[in-house]
């Protein structure tokens, strides 16, 4: 859920792996009050677009105060941005926020190219 001690209306896009990106957003108190007002649609739409392209490739509706979302970009090795839309008083979806651009990796065609996750190796043996 959104933490209103944070100050800005902002959305960020982080890359997780070739098929998953993480999107998180914060709202200012003023924006939260708009969403909480009677009659306001509590759903927002998060749209993922390839950078420079106006057409969203994936979108998902979530509660405005969910604060985060994982999405699956359709293509590896591309730069994406995320945008948040909400319905305005005329019922039209209006863009509120746009994220930073982030490049997704390409997955390895040859499993085992990587030596594995070194730092977790010994923690994982822990019997505790």
């Amino acid at each position: 859920m959104t933490d209103f001690s944070l100050s800005n209306d902002k959305v960020y896009l982080l890359v997780r792996n070739p098929s998953s990106v993480f999107i998180c957003w914060t709202w200012s108190r003023a924006r939260a009050e708009v969403f909480e007002a009677p009659g306001c649609d509590p759903q927002i739409v998060v749209r993922l677009s390839a950078a420079g392209d106006k057409v969203p490739v994936v979108e998902q509706a979530v509660p405005w105060n969910a604060g985060k979302l994982y999405m699956t970009p359709p293509e590896e090795g591309r730069t994406y941005t995320a945008a948040i839309y909400a319905r305005n008083k005329d019922g039209v979806q209006e863009k509120l926020l746009e994220s930073n651009a982030a490049l997704t990796p390409v997955s390895s065609p040859r499993p085992g190219l990587s030596a594995g996750y070194a730092s977790a190796e010994f923690f994982r043996r822990s019997p505790v």
Partner: protein
Amino acid sequence: MSSKGSILFLLHAHLPYINHPEHADFLEENWFFEGVVETYIPLISVLERLVRDGIRPGIAISISPTLGAMLENEHLENKLRRYIDDRLELIEKELVRVENDPVISKTVRLYAQLYGEAAEMIRKYSGDLITPLKQFQHAGNIEIITTSATHAVLPMLAHPEALRAQISAAADDYLDRFNTKAEGFWMPECAYDPRLQTYLKLSGFKYLFTESHAVNLSDGAPKNGVYVSYRTPNGINIFARDADSSREVWSAKFGYPGDPAYREFYRDMGYDADYDYIKPYLNAGGVRRSLGLKYHRITGDVDLAEKLYYDPDEAMAVVERHAADFLDRRMRQVEEIHSSKGIRPVIVGCYDAELFGHWWFEGPAFLESVLRKIRQDRLPLQFVTPGEYLNSCPEPVEINPQISSWGENGYFDPWVNETNDSIYPKVLDVTDRMIGTANRFRSQDLPSVTLRALNQAAREVLLAQSSDWPFLMYIGSHAQYAAERVDVHTANASRLLSEVLEKRIDEKALVELEKKNNLFHRLDFRLFASISKF
């Protein structure tokens, strides 16, 4: 004998910044004391012995700025001395308690030697363990590199200003600590992102390390794989980790450290011994915890209770076998690459330094044995430092490495998942505020207290970005402490930025923060400004 190839051995030494002067005893500070006694001092001892015997180690060591700051922290040094004294006192008692048991006695004597050497080295260098490392570097025996300021996984930083701040602060920190400009950069968690090239270049770095698939999946799939260095389009040299040599040393299950004869890490007398006997050596709360005295060997795939006693002599015999095996495999690897590709390959082995000694107790002995055997057996292999290799290698091919890490599955899953993603809104929000405030004040002449508050806010933001907090939350080890650290640093930064904007700085609280989170002494908040004056 002339070499057919080279081994580039990089040890990455890092701990998160943990400094709690407000507590006489703080559990997580033990990570530092254990690291010093079990890894850093034994590695320095190995280097000293090799150099004394005329063997040039020729390895690279990455020392994170947070670890460097802890190694120079007098408060931690005093606690470290007490930690070592406490252990030596307990070991004295143990030597008496087990005097009629020749098996355990041998292991206790080993600990007496380990902690005795630690005490002696602390005394010899007046508590400053950076000094011998600096000396080794100045003499050309090793090469020391750095990493991002607080070991942030850089691709997780959405703001380019934050990338620049992490890299630039690390370069300044290295210059202050080692009196020379940093040339090599260890990507925390081997996490590469093409956005980094610009900032690494601006900070003067000449080479970096990446995971193997960053190179193997790059445009044009380089035909020589990870066995040569490459160059980014803006001229930074790239070394890629070799998976084969890494796995042999890394893997607790399939690699050398899992041998049944080696010391078992998780069976510790802090949990085994009579409570009243060890109570003086536990923390103030009296809760059982690891004391570093471990008397059992891995034994095999059995419960901790069924582990057999450790035999140091048997373990050392296995070390010798493993060192010979490691070199034999490298020889065959080099021969194969040499004949199939017609190049003199460089095998890049990158390891967390703390694996050697702390997790894998026999690790420092393994490293020493490997380095001695190359000389003794006159093997056509040589250890090279990154700078040496770059001075003699063929012109590197230009590539664009792929975004990647050495994390699970090769990307960023360990640092962004359901266990830890709650930290990102806080960290990114406070970073954004830091950038905005830096932009607002960057050109102003500021009163000293305002400047100090902004600089401390910048320190707190950097500390909140450390990769260790999401990692600990992910593995469920000290997860609450890690989450609290994110909360504390983001709250500290946020409060300081508000105080600056509202012109009501609480100087007493500022002084306390400056004492506690006292790294990056000449950090300038303007590093976070969008158009830097630097």
